[in-house]
């Protein structure tokens, strides 16, 4: 089948949309990472996410290539192990987050990685993010997980790896950009070929006016 330009119709440009899911123990900073990435904000006293949240962010890899992430931030209900499967269903990429000051959070991260590798899309791209790097900048003794250890694990498991800080925004943009670069933008299996959409627009009459205002009600 011949390739067609993306649905967005940017002449000559490539536009691809991917589903990304965030997983990790509670309070490691999943929502904060997303908030920094999407809105460049940080809130010291974030309340925990109730169920899950859905956000989007678009990044340009180069002049011609735009990647839109549909980000699913999960939370709260790990105990029943029932929510995550519906979030990583058909996900193209995942960010598994741990807190570098909490040793147990890496164990939890490892079990998420295992579950993803067993259950999610076979071609899923997984990034491991050791968050809260700002906390060890001033007091190194707070660090519970050595960078080299986590890095070695990530290499072994085939993951992208970054130590991040949602607070200072260290490596946040880099993390998502690295994922975008690793995503297959035009070849790969049918699940990945998001830029060749045979999709049907259910609101053809409004599609031209969509960016005019988020809410017309």
């Amino acid at each position: 089948m011949a390739s067609r330009p993306g649905a967005a119709g940017r002449p000559g440009g490539r536009f691809a949309q991917f589903k990304l899911v965030l997983l990790g123990e509670s309070a490691v900073g999943k929502s904060s990472l997303v908030l920094r990435f999407v809105k460049d904000q940080f809130d010291d006293y974030r309340e925990s996410t109730i169920g899950a949240a859905f956000l989007t962010q678009t990044i340009s890899l180069d002049e011609n290539t735009t990647v839109k992430f549909e980000i699913w931030d999960t939370a709260g209900q790990e105990r029943y192990k029932s929510l995550a499967p519906m979030y990583y269903r058909n996900a193209n990429c995942a960010v598994v987050v741990y807190d570098i000051t909490q040793a147990s959070s890496l164990d939890k991260a490892k079990s998420w990685v295992k579950e993803l590798q067993r259950q999610a899309n076979e071609n899923i791209i997984i990034a491991l993010a050791g968050n809260k790097s700002d906390m060890v900048a001033d007091s190194p003794d707070k660090r519970a997980i050595e960078t080299a250890d986590a890095e070695a694990y990530a290499r072994e498991a085939g993951l992208l790896f970054f130590e991040t800080s949602a607070k200072t925004s260290t490596n946040v943009k880099e993390l998502f950009t690295a994922i975008a670069r690793k995503l297959p933008l035009d070849q790969a299996g049918p699940r990945m070929r998001q830029n060749l959409r045979p999709g049907v627009d259910l609101r053809p009459e409004t599609s031209n006016t969509q960016g005019a205002g988020p809410c017309s009600c």
């Binding site: 089948m1 067609r4 929502s31 997303v34 908030l35 999407v38 809105k39 996410t49 109730i50 169920g51 899950a52 949240a53 859905f54 956000l55 549909e70 699913w72 931030d73 709260g76 209900q77 105990r79 029943y80 192990k81 029932s82 929510l83 499967p85 519906m86 979030y87 269903r89 058909n90 259950q119 899309n121 076979e122 299996g189 049918p190 699940r191 959409r197 045979p198 999709g199 049907v200 627009d201 259910l202 609101r203 053809p204 988020p214 809410c215 009600c217």
Partner: protein, 560 residues
């Protein structure tokens, strides 16, 4: 998180099928405390979608679970022993819910008004084909090639020669005009029918059944069977050609014709990518989780006690606070033994404890029909079935082939049409995300006729697929079935009255109406969901607010 028993849930929804999931979606902005459980370890219930491994596990489990037999029963699982062509387990998403969705369907409007449509990718269902069966003796060499398929059923096939028996069914006047296989007289008859179908007023739901539309129906009845049959196929009705002469068929054909062009040129139906109804159900559950609902898989309802007054203290305190009524709660025991309380409990019959439905003396006295289904993975993409819908239209990911074989003439001779109902084959290309590239999935179904044995009914599905593969240009050894799953679905006949939502004496336990066997998304599902939604929320909502949501803004605190 506190344990499930610490909360008095406003609503416990049992089962994650399409109806329960749409209810969860409808309630997702109501600020109710919602617990959504499923006895299965997967989402979707009888509308689930599976990888190969999950499908075979489902098959094994359904061999000894009688509870789900209410709606769905596995019949056979088969893997082609002669082929290595199957991809890895997770490269498949095989759905128990391959229903087509017509562009005029109320579900699409509801998905748009609830802002869910941006999370589901819809793909076009392009061409409807009719597979005219002219069985001929299979030559020895041909037999060799079809050997693998033969072993599928253990019986030989009368395989038709690939000689252009697949005909495109004209569904617009342009199609009819352009079809040079039609005699002028037939063209006129078809034109007349299409005109009357389009011009007849759209009947309201009330008059849907018994009040025939004279003109379109008369025109249809007057047509020679070979001309009428393809039109009947557009109705996606399981009735055999000899028995369909009802108003319902005409309005179903009208729905088809009037849907064409609504969302783009050349197609009138769509399908959600990644598993049809299963995808809609999961996306609805996700929206419900964003709204704060708690999800627990692998736990069903084990016991259910009708509400009574909570306790003397509660009564006293309620009186003291001058509440008009005492809180009524249903006490539930989950399958892991945990006891929980809920103000409302909703599910479908198969989600309630065995014996509960009978115990509650609810009458499910509807004549159920049985449909046999198969899901078949085919080794070639069958690209010829997916021509572009139109010059600028989307690439179709679905196609429909209708098989009326084996013979249009019955042995009795007085009627010129067969008694068995048609086999519908809905073919999903790999663009659907349901199989690897280079393959396709055929979802076929036919009515389980009481005049034939179950083996014969199942055999009809195999015949239809064998015929289709043989009629394809790639009818060499490349087109073969690699894997198939067969199951039986029970439900209301198509277009029969769904009946009311059933509720217990206390009105706290509610049951969705029995689902129909329609191969097209049944809009009456939404009526049942809306009814229950209104009963739960009462005066808090206006009926017109059903599934109408504003976009969740990124600042929405319920969100991030």
């Amino acid at each position: 998180m506190e344990s499930l028993s610490d909360t008095t849930w406003d609503v416990v929804i049992a089962g994650t099928g399409i109806r329960q999931s749409l209810l969860a979606l409808a309630l997702s902005r109501s600020h109710k405390r919602i617990l959504h459980v499923d006895q299965n370890k997967y989402y979707g219930g009888t509308e689930a979608a599976f990888s190969l491994e999950e499908a075979s596990k489902w098959f094994d489990e359904s061999q000894h679970i009688s509870r789900c037999a209410l709606r769905i029963e596995a019949i056979a699982l088969w893997k082609n022993p002669h082929s290595e062509g199957l991809g890895s387990s997770r490269s498949y998403t095989l759905t128990l819910s391959p229903q087509l969705v017509y562009c005029r369907s109320a579900i699409l409007a509801a998905l748009v008004s609830s802002r869910l449509h941006t999370q589901i990718e819809f793909q076009a269902v392009g061409t409807w084909w009719i597979d005219r069966d002219r069985p001929v003796e299979v030559s020895e060499s041909n037999k060799q090639n079809n050997d693998a398929t033969d072993s599928h059923s253990g019986k030989g096939y009368a395989v038709a020669q690939p000689s252009g028996m697949l005909q495109k069914i004209p569904s617009t006047r342009e199609d009819v005009f352009a079809d040079d296989t039609l005699a002028p007289r037939d063209k006129r008859a078809l034109m007349k029918f299409l005109r009357t179908v389009i011009m007849d007023p759209i009947p309201d739901a009330e008059s849907n059944q018994d009040n025939p539309v004279p003109s379109a129906l008369t025109t249809l009845s007057a047509m020679p069977p070979l001309l009428a049959q393809p039109l009947l196929a557009l109705s996606m009705s399981y009735d055999s050609p000899g028995t369909v002469r009802t108003k319902s068929v005409v309005s179903r054909i009208r729905r088809h014709i009037q849907s064409v062009g609504m969302f783009g040129p050349g197609f009138g139906a769509v399908m959600p990518k990644y598993g049809g109804g299963a995808e809609i159900a999961q996306v609805a559950c996700r929206a419900s989780a964003v709204g704060g609902a708690v999800y627990v898989l692998g736990r069903g309802l084990a016991k259910l006690d009708e509400p009574r007054v909570q306790s003397a203290e509660a009564e006293a305190s309620a009186e003291a606070s001058a509440e008009a009524s005492v809180e009524e709660v249903v006490r539930l025991e989950l399958s892991d033994g945990e006891e929980i309380k809920a103000r409302f409990v909703v599910g479908s019959a198969e989600d309630f404890p065995t014996g509960y439905i009978e115990g509650a003396a609810w009458k499910l006295n509807i004549d159920l029909v049985k449909i046999v289904h198969s899901i078949s993975i085919v080794s070639s993409p069958l690209e010829h079935l997916f021509p572009p819908t139109a010059e600028s239209g989307p690439v179709p990911a679905g196609a429909v082939v209708v098989y009326d074989g084996p013979d249009h003439k019955t042995t009795s001779g007085d009627d010129s049409v067969s008694k068995a109902g048609p086999v519908y084959m809905v073919i999903h290309s790999s663009e659907s995300g349901e199989c690897p590239r280079g393959q396709c999935v055929i979802y076929s179904s036919t009515v389980s006729s009481s005049e034939a044995s179950e083996d014969e009914n199942v055999q009809r599905l195999d015949d239809a697929i064998a015929n289709l593969l043989a009629a394809s240009p790639l009818s060499d050894s490349k087109s073969e079935v690699l894997w198939s799953l067969k199951y039986r679905l029970r439900g209301r006949p198509i277009d029969s009255d769904a009946g009311p939502v059933m509720s217990s004496k206390s009105a706290r336990v509610m049951l969705f109406p029995v689902a129909s066997v329609d191969p097209v998304f049944d809009d009456s599902i939404l009526d049942g969901v809306k009814d229950i939604w209104k009963r739960i929320l009462g005066d808090e909502v206006e009926e017109s607010e059903f599934l109408k949501f504003v976009e969740r803004t990124e600042d929405d605190e319920e969100g991030l």
